[in-house]
C-alpha cells in the first residue's frame, strides 16, 4: 500500500500543494481529476521524488511502510522504475529519439541490475508483446512508430519490473479516441493481471468515470473531494466537483441561432493528393458536402484521416487535384483574392503556439490585413473585435504572455472576427482548454454565431463537444466522408460501422448522476 498524508509543497515560496492525502491500493485505480495547474502532476512528481529545484516538501509519502520524502537520492533511484513506474502525457517526445525501443525497455531492467544483457532483451521483447506490440521489432526507433505505439513502449518501460504502483499522467490526452480506448483498456488489464495500483491523472471526468475505482478531485493544490468513484460522480458533494461535471457536458444555448437554407460553402468531389515515393497518396478522396449560412457543421475522425488537409484546401491554402470548393458560388483556391479570403477565417488549437510572442495584441489581431493594407477604421475594428470576444480594448497594447490559455483563445477568435467573415473554421479550437474554460468559449462562440449569423466548420476529435455544439456532422475515415447527417441522429443511430466504433470508443459521462 502507498499512502500520501498531509503532503504540502512550496516551490520557491509559492504554495503548490496543500495538505494532500491519498491512498493507493494494489489492484485499484485512483483517478486524480482537476484542471491544469491544480497540482495533479506535482503530486505525482512528489511521489517519485522528481520535484524541480527549489521545492520544499512536507508531510509524508509511505511505500509499504518506508518513508520516501526523507529517503536518499540513491534509494529513490532504486525505487523509481522498480517499485514505482510512471508514464507521461506526450508519447511523441517521451522516448529518446536516438535509441531503438528495445534498448530503452531493456534499460529499465539493466539499470536496476535485474537481468543480464541477454536476459534483459528477452524480457523487453516479452513486455513489448504484453503491451500489444508483437509485430514491432525491437530495433525500431521511436520516430518509426505512431503516437499510440509510442505510448505502449512507455508503458512497457514502466511495467518491465512489475512495479507496485504505476502513475499515468494524462496518458491519453494526446491520442485520438480509438487509440485512447485501447490504451485505457491495456492499463485496466495490467492493473487486474499484475495486481498493481494505478494513479490515473487526467482532466477528463469521462475517462475517470470509465476507469477509476476511487476518485480524488483537486483544485488549487488541495483535494476537495475524494471517495469511491460512483459515489463522487453521483453525489458531487463539493460545488467544484459539480462545476467540473456541469462544464464537461456543457451545452451552449444555441436557440438564437438562425439557420438559413442558403448554401455558403460547397465542396464537390474534392481531391487532395500528395506525390510520394510509392506513387500518389490521396489524403482527401472525392469529398462532397455543403455548409449552409448560420450552420455549425462538425467534422470528426482519427488523426491522419485527412481532416487537416481538407481544412487547408477550404482555407484556400493548398490547390485541389480534382473537384471544386466554392464559397458563395466563387471558387476557392490559393489564387483567390482577398475579398474572398476575408470571408473565411480560422482558429487553431494551440493558444500558445499560434501567436508571435514579440507582437502586441493589436498587431496580432490585425494580421489578416497584412496583404491588403490596413483599412482606415483599423483601431475601431480592433476595439470591436476585442469587445466582441469579451476582452477590454486596452488589452490591445499587451503581449500574448500576459494572457491565460482561455484568453489567448479569445484573442485568436478576435483575429478571426476582424475581417467580418461569414465562415470560421474551428480546428480543434477548444481541445487544449480546461473544461470550465472550454464551456465559456463554447458559449462565446454560440453568442457570436447568433449575433453575426456566422457559420462554423467545427473540427474536433472530441465527440462529446461536437455533439453539443453542431447541427450536422461529417465522419471522415481514410480521406472519405463515410457518414453525414443531423448530429443527434448520427450519435444516437450511427449507420456506418466506423461511426459506431468511434462513438463506442469515446468515454462519456452518460449514465452517471
Amino acid at each position: 500500500m502507498i499512502s500520501l498524508s498531509h503532503l504540502s509543497l512550496e516551490i520557491h515560496g509559492t504554495p503548490i500543494l496543500r495538505d494532500v492525502s491519498l491512498t493507493l491500493v494494489p489492484g485499484h485505480i485512483l483517478g486524480l481529476v482537476g484542471e491544469s495547474g491544480s497540482g495533479k502532476s506535482m503530486t505525482a512528481l512528489s511521489l517519485m521524488g522528481l520535484l524541480p529545484q527549489g521545492s520544499a516538501l512536507s508531510g509524508s509519502v509511505s511505500l509499504e511502510g518506508e518513508e520516501l520524502t526523507t529517503a536518499a537520492e540513491r534509494r529513490l533511484c532504486q525505487l523509481r522504475g522498480n517499485e514505482i513506474g510512471m508514464i507521461f502525457q506526450e508519447p511523441m517526445t517521451a522516448l529518446n529519439p536516438m535509441q531503438p525501443i528495445g534498448a530503452q525497455v531493456a534499460e529499465t531492467l539493466r539499470i536496476h541490475g535485474a537481468a543480464s544483457r541477454r536476459e534483459a532483451r528477452r524480457i523487453a521483447r516479452e513486455k513489448l508483446d504484453r503491451v500489444g506490440l508483437e509485430a514491432i521489432p525491437m530495433h525500431r526507433y521511436p520516430h518509426e512508430l505512431s503516437g499510440g505505439q509510442r505510448q505502449r513502449v512507455c508503458i512497457a518501460m514502466a511495467i518491465a519490473l512489475r512495479p507496485r504502483l504505476l502513475i499515468a499522467d494524462e496518458p491519453t490526452t494526446a491520442l485520438d479516441v480509438t487509440t485512447q480506448a485501447q490504451i485505457l483498456n491495456l492499463l485496466r488489464e495490467l492493473v487486474r493481471d499484475e495486481g498493481m495500483a494505478l494513479l490515473l491523472i487526467t482532466h477528463d471526468l469521462a475517462v475517470v468515470a470509465e476507469m477509476a475505482d476511487d476518485i480524488a478531485v483537486m483544485r488549487a493544490g488541495a483535494v476537495v473531494e475524494a471517495g469511491p468513484a460512483a459515489q463522487v460522480l453521483r453525489e458531487r458533494a463539493h460545488p467544484y466537483t459539480e462545476a467540473l461535471f456541469a462544464a464537461s457536458g456543457h451545452q451552449p444555448d444555441r436557440a438564437a441561432t438562425q439557420l438559413r437554407e442558403v448554401p455558403l460553402l460547397s465542396v464537390e468531389r474534392a481531391v487532395r493528393e500528395y506525390s510520394g515515393r510509392s506513387g500518389a497518396f490521396r489524403a482527401v478522396d472525392e469529398v462532397s458536402f455543403t455548409l449552409r449560412q448560420g450552420e455549425s457543421l462538425g467534422l470528426v475522425g482519427e488523426s491522419g484521416c485527412g481532416k487537416s488537409t481538407l481544412t487547408r484546401a477550404i482555407l484556400g491554402l493548398d490547390p485541389l487535384q480534382g473537384g471544386a470548393i466554392r464559397l458563395d458560388g466563387q471558387p476557392v483556391s490559393p489564387a483567390m483574392g482577398f475579398e474572398l479570403r476575408r470571408r473565411v477565417q480560422v482558429v487553431f488549437q494551440d493558444p500558445y503556439g499560434s501567436f508571435n510572442p514579440r507582437h502586441r495584441v493589436s498587431r496580432l489581431i490585425a494580421e489578416p490585413f497584412h496583404l491588403t493594407g490596413r483599412p482606415a477604421d483599423l483601431p475601431a475594428r480592433i476595439t470591436e473585435s476585442l469587445t466582441a470576444v469579451g476582452l477590454s480594448p486596452d488589452d490591445a497594447h499587451k503581449y500574448p504572455h500576459e494572457f491565460s490559455g482561455g484568453q489567448r483563445q479569445r484573442i485568436a477568435i478576435a483575429r478571426a472576427l476582424i475581417t467580418h467573415p461569414e465562415l470560421i473554421v474551428l480546428d480543434e479550437a477548444v481541445s487544449a482548454l480546461d473544461v470550465q474554460v472550454r464551456a465559456v468559449i463554447l458559449d462565446l462562440l454560440a453568442r457570436l454565431q447568433a449575433e453575426r449569423g456566422l457559420s462554423y466548420l467545427f473540427i474536433s476529435h472530441d465527440l462529446s463537444v461536437v455533439r453539443n455544439v453542431t447541427d450536422r456532422v461529417l465522419v471522415m475515415q481514410s480521406g472519405k466522408i463515410v457518414e453525414e447527417g443531423e448530429t443527434e441522429q448520427v450519435f444516437t443511430a450511427p449507420r456506418h460501422p466506423y461511426t459506431a466504433q468511434l462513438i463506442a470508443a469515446a468515454p462519456t459521462l452518460e449514465g452517471v448522476g
Binding site: L50, R80, F88, M98, E144
Partner: protein, 315 residues
C-alpha cells in the same frame, strides 16, 4: 543509408562544379594580365603573346576552363607564374603543414570543449558554471595572434619548451614537426574550444529539459546516468555542425597564425600569390580549399546520419 549517401554525394559533386565555375569566372573578370605583369610594361607584344601561350592563357574562356578542370582531375594544376614550378608541388608542400595544423587544433579544441561544456551544463547555475562561461567568453574575446605571441613568450622564450616559430619539415621527424605545430595549434584552438564549449553547454541544457530525460529519471537513472546515456548523444548533433564549420575555418583562416609562427602554410601561400598576381596558384589553391570545405560538410552530413537515426532513410 545508401540512398542518403548517394544523395549527399550528388550534392557534393554539384557543389564542386558550381564552385569551380565561380572561382574561374571571378579571376577571369579581374583586371590585370599575368604575362604583362611578369614581363614589365616595356615588353614587346609578341613576347607577351608567346608567354601567354606558354602559360596557357590563350584560347577562349571555355577552352581554358575545361583545360583547367581536366588538369585538376589529373592532379596537374599548371605552372606557377612566379615560382616557375608545378603548382601541385607548391600546394602539397603547404598542405603538409596546414592540414596537420588544422587537425591538431581541432582535436585539441574538441578534447577540451566537450567535457568542459558537459560539466558546465551538469553544474548549471553554480559558481563553477559561471566560472567556465566567463573563461570561454575571454577565450572568444582574445585575438588569437596576441594569444599566440603570449604563448611564444611563455613556452618558447621563458621556459624553452617549444620552438618559437618556423617549421623543420616532416623529414626532421614526427615529434619535431608536432612540437613546432603545438603552440600555433593551441593558439588556434582557444577561441574554437570556447565557442564549442558554449554550444555544447547549451545543447546539453536543451536536451536535459526534454521529456525523454524525465522518462529516463522515472526509470530509475540517476542524474549522471541520464546525462551520459541519453543527453550526450542527442546534444552532439548541434556540436557536429559547429565542428564542421570550424575545420574549414581552421584550414583557410590560419593565415595570421601562420605569419605569427612563420609557418609555410596554405594561407600564406594564397596571400603571397594574390599579391604577385599568380592567378594559377590562387585558382588552384582556392579550389583545393573549397574542395576541403565541401568534403568536410559532406563528412558532417554523414556523421549526422550516423548520430541521428531520424535522418537515415529506411532501407
Amino acid at each position: 543509408m545508401i540512398r542518403y549517401l548517394a544523395s549527399r554525394l550528388l550534392s557534393l559533386a554539384l557543389s564542386l562544379l558550381v564552385a569551380s565555375a565561380v572561382i574561374f569566372l571571378m579571376l577571369e573578370v579581374l583586371p590585370g594580365d599575368p604575362a604583362r605583369f611578369m614581363l614589365g610594361i616595356n615588353a614587346q607584344p609578341d613576347t607577351v603573346a608567346a608567354l601567354r601561350t606558354e602559360l596557357g592563357l590563350d584560347g577562349t574562356t571555355i577552352e581554358r576552363y575545361l583545360r583547367w578542370i581536366t588538369g585538376l582531375l589529373r592532379g596537374e594544376m599548371g605552372i606557377s607564374y612566379t615560382y616557375r614550378v608545378p603548382v601541385q608541388e607548391l600546394v602539397s608542400a603547404r598542405i603538409a603543414v596546414s592540414a596537420p595544423l588544422a587537425g591538431y587544433a581541432l582535436l585539441l579544441s574538441t578534447l577540451i570543449a566537450i567535457p568542459v561544456g558537459l560539466l558546465a551544463a551538469a553544474l548549471r547555475g553554480t559558481v563553477a558554471d559561471y566560472g567556465i562561461m566567463g573563461l570561454t567568453q575571454l577565450g572568444i574575446a582574445i585575438p588569437n595572434f596576441w594569444f599566440g605571441m603570449l604563448l611564444v613568450l611563455g613556452f618558447a622564450i621563458t621556459w624553452k619548451l617549444f620552438p618559437s616559430g618556423g617549421f623543420p619539415g616532416w623529414d626532421a621527424g614526427f615529434w619535431a614537426g608536432l612540437r613546432a605545430l603545438t603552440l600555433p595549434a593551441i593558439a588556434l584552438a582557444l577561441p574554437q574550444a570556447s565557442i564549442l564549449a558554449r554550444v555544447m553547454r547549451s545543447a546539453v541544457i536543451e536536451v536535459l529539459s526534454q521529456d525523454f530525460i524525465r522518462t529516463a529519471r522515472a526509470k530509475g537513472l540517476s542524474r549522471t546516468q541520464a546525462l551520459t546515456r541519453h543527453a550526450l548523444r542527442n546534444a552532439l548533433v548541434p556540436v557536429l555542425t559547429i565542428l564542421g564549420l570550424q575545420f574549414s575555418f581552421l584550414l583557410a583562416g590560419a593565415i595570421i597564425i601562420e605569419n605569427v609562427f612563420y609557418l609555410p602554410g596554405l594561407g600564406r601561400l594564397i596571400f603571397q600569390a594574390i599579391n604577385q598576381r599568380d592567378l594559377i596558384v590562387v585558382e588552384s589553391a582556392v579550389m583545393l580549399l573549397v574542395f576541403a570545405v565541401i568534403t568536410v560538410t559532406f563528412l558532417t552530413d554523414i556523421a549526422y546520419g550516423l548520430a541521428d537515426p531520424r535522418l537515415r532513410r529506411r532501407k
